[in-house]
């Protein structure tokens, strides 16, 4: 026996610690030390050593007579032998039989976006991500369409064992810490996570230390973001143009502007106004005219405001939006010895919003460590802290009362400031009800949402015998959130508000997960690979919230902006708590025969405290099979095919997610003091009253998602080309949602119930290519294509249609679920052109056989003609129906990469094709509700006798019907966007100055967008329009609606990656 020594290095010659070196056919082996060195006793010259390391191609070397063997490992381009975590255990990627997308974290991190969601967009087939441009805004990540609707389609995210769910859950995660990421898309892979896996699972592990020398990395960038398109590209700017529109709609306004309808005159002052006495007794025809002889010295705030006209028009968009910087810095440290490794990072990110005063800042730190004190024991921990600060646009996204919508509503004749430098407003009658957008933005600057989050995990592993491993893991997620909000008087508005108010909301979440698993993993007779996993898990979520508001603060300056009743009036106070517990048992069996046949079974049983005893437990089975065809003898001639595997899976996942607390119980009391309290004795003292304010549903049970998946994985030409194709069908039964009850149930919050069944069918295709064109020139490309079709297949109970978001005060119902149609379908009338003539009207009237009855209420020449859907010859409620579908036919992500010597170039394109957008903004931009500013199109494209081809209805203030929900709001929302283009250069430093590698890059996001959509940005986040059921943000109930959406910006950044 003698000893062989050697050193293992990677492709660039760096030492590789921790590499397994084994003598083939024996259990004799060792691992390399921090310098990559190993020494191993061998018996004879015929011995073969096997050198393996995750992510690298294994090598087998016959020792021969050598005593020293140096090995350089090459990265395994196929990465198929990579181990990935798919369900409490690791699995070789090549053995996966479910639909699992493994996202390349390094590729993800080439995109320098502030949040994880933005980076993920388009990176994996079957994943759709929507994010608004609002800094720090959470992303809606949807895996294979909408799987559930109870306010939570967010996938379960498991970060180092910590389970997180919720749309903003990931905003606090520093994406640079991600080392690996897997997305479990179908039930056969995800059902091991049972109860919470319904919307898919994203498993993230953060960077772990490697044994070896201390490694220091720095990644940072600075950049500038600019608004891509603003309302100043869409809306009228010249006040005279606006006056022309207003006068056409309301001839009375000609008196205000003077001149005539074609040549209005902008007065010097628009406020105050005077009344022109027409001399009649009742003065009903008196008109408003601009005051002349305004004495500016009489200005007095707030009682005598004076506002000069801005004759050239205020560009309100420009007044609120400007280029904004973005920067991020991350420092990472990692290292360790053979039995103790660590990885630590600190990060800082600061994204200023293109809308003034909005921003997102994040400070984060992470420490991961791992110890192997003996051969049998591994213990480790991860801990991350992040603090973020965010200022949103006032009112939030998707709200008529937000800053962006104010830039649409506000008339351009209004300057930003009045003659004394106070905010000006549209105070004149006949002007808009807008709030000054600059005031709106500025006064919101201290409404800072502060979030503190601590995620921690400790785990221990004990190898009872080589094949049997016990693991216990405890994770905790602690979150503190504080949100203040101040409101200020607005004397400059037409709708004056003269009092201030201040409120605070304080929330804490404490969630913990304790998981214990036992895993048996053994290969028998060299061909039977068996893994059995069993486990138990307990989860508890604790939520606490306090909220209070005071009014009429005598002092509202920041240093005294507190809830203090000595100088304010009490308004409201509330406090609530919620605890949800989950307990689960699960088992999984994976069997593989000779690398050819794979089967996997999973069974999980979940119980939740949110359901009552009888419905509490759900059982979620799954099974999948795989056949590696390429290993069959008959395939051996096809040498171009390195791997070909056919997969099929079936499984059920569950959903118990209910946004509101204690849904099983009828809840009595009152939502607020005023809800059921009443001054029964007169005066101003309320007698307490109690009422049923929230319906409970004791019968609520598990929502079940049955999914079938058939997939194919292929690796061609030694892994140069990879292909993953999946077709799937997901059937969701007993969907949990809280649609309004019939009106006779009153206005108590409706309970969450099992209301419907839904189906998603679709396919995902991923193709990637990686290769060298010449020695210096490399090329890679990956294409992700996804298609799904969503359909409501059944509504439980009695309703034939459900209006999930209730009734919008402006439109009635705009959003419907109806059997045979996709979820969140748009609802309204279908327009059938514009009535061109009396003859057309007469013919329409006669369509029901009775020429004396009107075809359509409010019909007139130049107005929209509604289509008679039920063909009864007249228009009524029965002609309302589905008018649009927000779901895309196809989404596409295409990454193109080139590298030449030290240069690298990548471009990422994203496209969404075939989705409709409900452009709610048109209520203002095209129909001018509340005398809002309007689109330039209104001036050029409105129907008139001289413009009979105009696509917009005649300008007519009496037309109260044009703005009803109809196809006039629905647009094709398809787009193609160059999401990201990067050019990098790696300095050939060698190792001088202690620098191992140094790369500089420039990157632009959102370089161009090709779309026919007329609004600001076709990439919408889901919004929250109007009054929602239960005050909840019904995200997926409102897919595809655009109202005051903060658009994405274009950014240019320059950055550096350095490794020391």
């Amino acid at each position: 026996q003698r000893t062989v020594t050697g050193r293992v290095t990677d492709e660039s010659g760096n030492a590789m610690p921790g590499v397994n070196v084994l003598i083939k056919g024996t259990s004799q082996g060792t691992a390399t030390d921090v310098e990559g060195r190993f020494s191993l006793p061998v018996n004879n010259d015929q011995a073969t050593i096997v050198i393996t390391f995750v992510g690298y191609t294994s090598q087998e070397i016959v020792v021969g007579s050598r005593t020293s063997i140096d090995v350089q490992l090459a990265p395994d381009v196929t990465t198929l032998s990579e181990l990935v975590i798919t369900g409490y255990s690791e699995q070789r990627k090549r053995d996966i039989t479910g639909a699992v997308a493994v996202v390349d974290a390094s590729e993800l991190n080439t995109v320098r976006a502030p949040t994880f969601g933005q980076k993920l967009a388009g990176r994996a087939p079957g994943i759709t991500v929507s994010t608004s441009g609002q800094p720090g805004e959470g992303s809606n990540i949807r895996i294979r369409g909408i799987s559930s609707i109870s306010g939570n389609n967010d996938p379960l995210v498991i970060i180092d064992g910590v389970q997180i769910q919720g749309d903003k859950a990931l905003a606090g995660l520093n994406p640079n810490d991600i080392e690996t990421m897997q997305i479990l898309k179908d039930a056969s892979s995800a059902s091991i996570y049972g109860a919470r896996a319904n919307a898919g699972v994203i498993i993230i592990t953060t960077k772990q230390g490697k044994a070896g020398k201390l490694q220091v990395t720095y990644d940072g960038y600075v950049g500038i973001q600019t608004p891509v398109k603003g309302y100043n590209d869409i809306l009228i700017k010249d006040p005279r143009d606006f006056a022309r529109v207003q006068i056409a709609k309301n001839p009375n306004m000609v008196h205000f502007y003077g001149g005539d309808a074609n040549n209005p005159v902008i007065p010097t002052y628009f406020f105050p106004t005077a009344t022109d006495d027409r001399g009649t007794a009742d003065k009903a025809d008196d008109v408003m005219v601009p005051a002349t002889n305004v004495d500016e010295s009489a200005y007095n705030y707030p009682d005598n405001l004076i506002m000069r006209s801005n004759a050239s028009g205020t560009d309100w968009w420009d007044a609120v939006f400007s280029p904004a910087p973005i920067t991020e810095h991350n420092i990472g440290l990692s290292g360790g010895s053979e039995n103790a490794t660590f990885s630590a990072s600190i990060g800082y990110m600061n994204q200023q919003g293109t809308m003034d005063y909005t921003y997102f800042k994040r400070y984060s730190a992470r420490l991961n460590s791992r110890f192997t004190p003996g051969k049998k024991i591994t213990i480790g921990q991860s801990l991350s802290l992040s603090r973020s600060e965010q200022v949103d646009q006032q009112g939030g996204n998707g709200n008529e009362q937000n800053t962006i919508t104010q830039t649409v509503l506000m008339n351009t004749i209004v300057p930003v400031y009045d003659i004394a430098g106070n905010y000006a407003g549209a105070k004149t009658n006949g002007f808009s009800n807008a709030k000054n957008p600059v005031a709106f933005a500025k006064l919101n600057e201290n409404d800072k949402n502060e979030d503190l989050r601590i995620l921690g995990n400790v785990f221990g592993e004990y190898k009872i015998i080589e094949a049997l491993k016990f693991r216990t893991s405890f994770s905790a997620d602690f979150r503190n959130n504080f949100l203040p909000q101040a409101n200020f008087p607005r004397y400059e508005d037409r709708e004056v508000n003269s009092s201030n108010s201040y409120q605070e909301r304080y929330q804490t979440n404490f969630n913990w997960v304790w998981t214990n698993t036992l895993e048996f993993n053994k290969k028998f007779a060299d061909v039977h690979n068996l893994r059995i996993l069993g486990g138990y898990e307990a989860v508890q979520n604790n939520f606490r919230q306090n909220q209070a508001q005071v009014d009429n603060l005598q002092f509202i300056d920041l240093p005294v902006r507190y809830l203090n009743l000595t100088y304010s009036t009490f308004n409201s106070l509330s406090s609530n708590k919620r605890v949800v517990s989950l307990a689960s048992m699960f088992g999984k069996l994976d069997y593989e025969y000779n690398d050819k046949y794979l089967v996997s079974f999973t069974l999980r049983r979940d119980g939740t405290s949110d359901f009552l005893e009888d419905n509490r437990w759900g059982v979620f089975p799954a099974a999948s099979v795989g056949w590696r065809i390429s290993n069959e003898a008959f395939m051996q001639n096809l040498t171009f095919l390195s791997d070909l595997k056919l997969r099929a899976g079936w499984g059920i996942t569950g959903n118990q997610n209910i946004p509101t607390a204690y849904n099983a119980y009828n809840q009595y009391g009152g939502r607020t003091v005023s809800d059921a309290g009443y001054a029964i004795g007169g005066g101003n003292t309320l007698t307490r009253g109690y009422t049923l304010y929230r319906y409970g549903n004791p019968d609520i049970k598990w929502e079940e998602n049955t999914s079938m998946n058939i997939g194919l994985d292929a690796s061609i030409l030694d892994g140069k080309i990879g292909l993953v194709f999946d077709v799937y069908k997901r059937t969701i039964d007993d969907l949990i949602y809280n649609p309004p009850f019939a009106g006779a149930a009153g206005n108590a919050f409706p309970s969450y119930r099992n209301v419907a069944s839904m189906e998603n069918t679709g396919w995902d295709l991923g193709i990637n290519y990686r290769g060298n064109i010449t020695g210096d020139l490399g090329f890679n490309a990956s294409l992700n294509l996804s298609h799904y079709r969503n359909e409501i297949t059944k509504l439980d109970g009695e309703a034939t249609s459900v209006f999930p978001a209730g009734i919008d005060k402006r439109f009635g119902e705009v959003n419907v679920w109806r059997v045979g149609y996709p979820i969140s379908s748009f609802y309204g009338y279908t327009n059938d052109g514009i009535f061109q003539s009396q003859a057309e009207l007469d013919a329409a009237d006669a369509a029901d056989g009775d020429a004396s009855s009107e075809y359509q209420t409010g019909q007139a020449i130049g107005r929209y003609r509604r289509k008679d859907i039920n063909k009864d010859g007249r228009i009524n409620g029965d002609d309302l129906g589905v008018i649009g579908n927000p779901h895309p036919d196809l989404t596409l992500g295409l990454t193109l990469g080139l590298n030449y010597k030290n240069f690298d170039f990548t471009m990422f394109l994203y496209a969404s094709i075939g989705n409709d957008i409900y452009n709610y903004n048109r209520l203002f931009t095209h129909f001018g509700q509340f005398n809002s500013n309007v689109s330039k199109e209104v001036l050029t494209d409105s129907w008139s006798e001289s413009n009979p081809g105009g696509s917009l209805p005649k300008l007519d203030g009496s037309d109260t019907f044009a703005s009803q929900s109809s196809t006039a709001y629905v647009e094709d929302g398809s787009y193609l966007r160059a999401q990201n283009v990067t050019l990098g250069y790696t300095l050939p430093t060698g190792r001088s100055f202690g620098i191992q590698s140094l790369r500089f890059y420039v990157q632009t996001q959102n370089l161009f967008t090709i779309t026919g959509y007329s609004g600001l940005d076709p990439a919408l986040s889901n919004v929250n329009i109007g009054v929602n059921v239960d005050g909840q943000n019904q995200n997926d109930g409102w897919t595809g609606y655009d109202l005051g959406n903060y658009p994405s910006s274009r950014s240019f950044i320059i950055g550096v990656n350095a490794r020391f």
């Binding site: 309301n250 009375n252 106004t273 009036t569 003091v673 009803q964 005050g1031």
Partner: protein, 556 residues
């Protein structure tokens, strides 16, 4: 496992309410819906008990007001372009049924609760049954064919409206409540036997084809009330915080301010109907019509035009015409002091060419009374109670019954009581010359009144008999219009009288000249417009086995 047995937190269960106090608290909850609002951030405009959207704007009393582009759905109601998809109506449906549900839940809870004192039990049942009837009556007035829900329906909220008799059911409930209710209640907000009788009288007269037998039943109830109660000295008193619980007010919505309820118990739903002037900010809806202004004209004898048809009247000339002083307690006019807010001025109106120069006034508080803080328009959140039924209403209903029964002298006497009170006071000057303090009401002949020639007189004794029953009927109806103007009754009165088409179409035709958008108006049809279209959302929500069982009112 016990790990999964989470005890619910932060709310009461039905069990906790099973005591006398708990049942009463549930009853208070039923009362609290009288203001049409329960949810904190829900502007349930059409559920306003003042009913100006559904009962006043679509009549000859008022225009939508504000400006063209603000709530065009209300304009559609105003000019009879009704449709099931009109979004504004649904709140009335839901909120009224919320009231029904709360009343029913009180009854259900009471039946499951032991140990409530017998008297108390009777009272609670009487109050709850009255409230249930009231909320259904609100639904009936608007839609006619509405299902009636009782505690026996449990948690079934889907019901057909084919062949329903909601008014008869409501009448039966109120009839049953009368023996249960006490003569008087210690707390002014609670319904007592007088209020129930008055309301019962009203409901009888809201039936179709009121004949002598029905009128007799109405008279029986109303006589008791009218004989027992007195009118307030001045009409304005009952619309002001200090006088709002005068005995004239038989039953009202108790509004309150600065009560910790974020202004939601104040007159939240009226905030749109304040003048759009600088004091209030928003928005000038519910502007009185020229026709209503003209209706207040009186002749030199202080009496209305004897044809009681205002559609052919010349517009009021404030400097030369005599006018009923109630005009300035009801309507804000330029040049006339607006309570203690100063003189109503042109800039208080958003767009006079759109909807005229007038403001509604009854629901406006005294500046000195102040408002409730919180909300987006805190200048409007006052504590003025809405009188659901007041003695003047009951008297005029009784007068209607008396006319039907041929007792014209009694009808005249009742009308004259109202007219006499009308002459008792008028809007005073904005400030006293000597003290500078606001004088809100004063004698009608106060020399400081320069903006109008006030005059109002009772009909000379025997006028009704001399002119016959048709005259008497119209005189009573005219008086009802004047006295109860802008209180949300007009459309429902016109409908039950069967004269809506006649009156409203004349009004529309005349108004086309001054309000341009009236040229778009559909003709009011006594059959078609007898009921509003049921909100489409409710049609869709009330399905059984895939069948829509809530039938839309014909021909909507």
């Amino acid at each position: 496992s016990s790990f999964l047995d989470e005890k619910p937190q932060g709310f009461l269960s039905e069990e906790t309410l099973k005591s006398e106090d708990g049942v009463d608290a549930a009853l208070i909850g039923a009362y609290s819906l009288l203001d049409g609002m329960n949810l904190d951030n829900n502007n349930t405009w059409s559920a306003n008990p003042w009913n100006w959207i559904l009962g006043s704007v679509p009549t000859d009393d008022a225009y939508k007001g504000s400006e063209q582009t603000d709530f065009p759905e209300i304009t559609q109601l105003e000019i009879y372009q009704w449709s099931a998809g009109n979004a504004i109506m649904n709140d009335k449906w839901v909120q009224s049924y919320e009231g029904v549900k709360r009343a029913n839940n009180t009854l259900k809870l009471m039946s499951q609760t032991d140990g409530i004192a017998g008297d108390k039990q009777k009272t609670i049942e009487g109050e709850a049954r009255f409230l249930r009837a009231y909320y259904h009556f609100e639904l009936y007035k608007v839609w006619g064919n509405v299902p009636y829900f009782t505690e026996a329906d449990g948690e079934n909220y889907i019901k057909s409206n084919v062949g329903v008799t909601p008014l008869a059911n409501a009448i039966a409930d109120v009839e049953a409540s009368i023996p249960l209710l006490p003569e008087t209640q210690k707390e002014r907000g609670r319904v007592d036997r007088f209020a129930a009788r008055a309301f019962l009288g009203k409901m009888y007269l809201y039936q179709d084809n009121v004949d002598a037998a029905i009128a007799t039943k109405a008279k029986e109830q109303l006589d008791i009330v009218v004989n027992a109660k007195k009118l307030a000295p001045c009409l304005k008193d009952v619309f002001q915080v200090p006088g709002e619980n005068h005995e004239e007010v038989l039953f009202s919505v108790q509004a309150s301010t600065n009560d910790g309820g974020n202004s939601r118990n104040a007159n939240w739903l009226n905030q749109l109907a304040f003048p759009a002037g600088p004091q209030f900010g928003c928005c000038g809806f519910h502007q009185p019509s020229q026709d209503l202004v003209n209706a207040f004209k009186v002749d030199a004898n202080g009496l209305p035009d004897t044809d009681f048809d205002t559609s052919d009247d010349a517009d009021l000339n404030a400097t030369s015409d005599f006018v009923d002083p109630r005009i300035d307690l009801t309507i804000g006019r330029d040049g006339v002091p607006f309570l203690d807010w100063g003189v109503h001025a042109p800039n208080w109106i958003r767009d006079r060419t759109f909807s005229g120069p007038y403001s509604s006034k009854k629901h406006i508080h005294y500046k000195t009374d102040g408002t409730s803080s919180g909300g987006w328009n805190n200048n409007a959140y006052n504590g003025i109670n809405y009188p659901i039924i007041r003695l003047a209403d009951a008297m005029l209903l009784l007068a209607e019954a008396e006319v039907i029964l041929g007792n014209l002298n009694r009808a005249e006497e009742l009308v004259n009581l109202i007219r006499t009170r009308a002459g008792a006071c008028a809007q005073g000057p904005a400030s006293d010359d000597i003290t500078g303090a606001a004088v809100i009401t004063t004698d009608i002949d106060n020399p400081a009144i320069t903006w109008a020639k006030y005059k109002v007189e009772p009909y000379p004794t025997g006028t009704f008999v001399a002119n016959g029953p048709e005259f008497a009927k119209n005189a009573v109806r005219m008086e009802r219009r004047l006295e109860l103007a802008l209180e949300g009754h007009r459309l429902f009165d016109l409908r039950r009288w069967g004269v809506a088409a006649d009156v409203l179409n004349k009004f529309v035709n005349k108004t086309k000249a001054s309000r341009t958008y009236y040229s778009d108006a559909d003709a009011y049809d006594n059959v078609k417009h007898r009921w509003y279209p049921i909100p489409q959302a409710q049609i869709e929500a009330n399905t059984l086995n895939g069948e829509r069982i809530l039938k839309q009112n014909d021909p909507w």
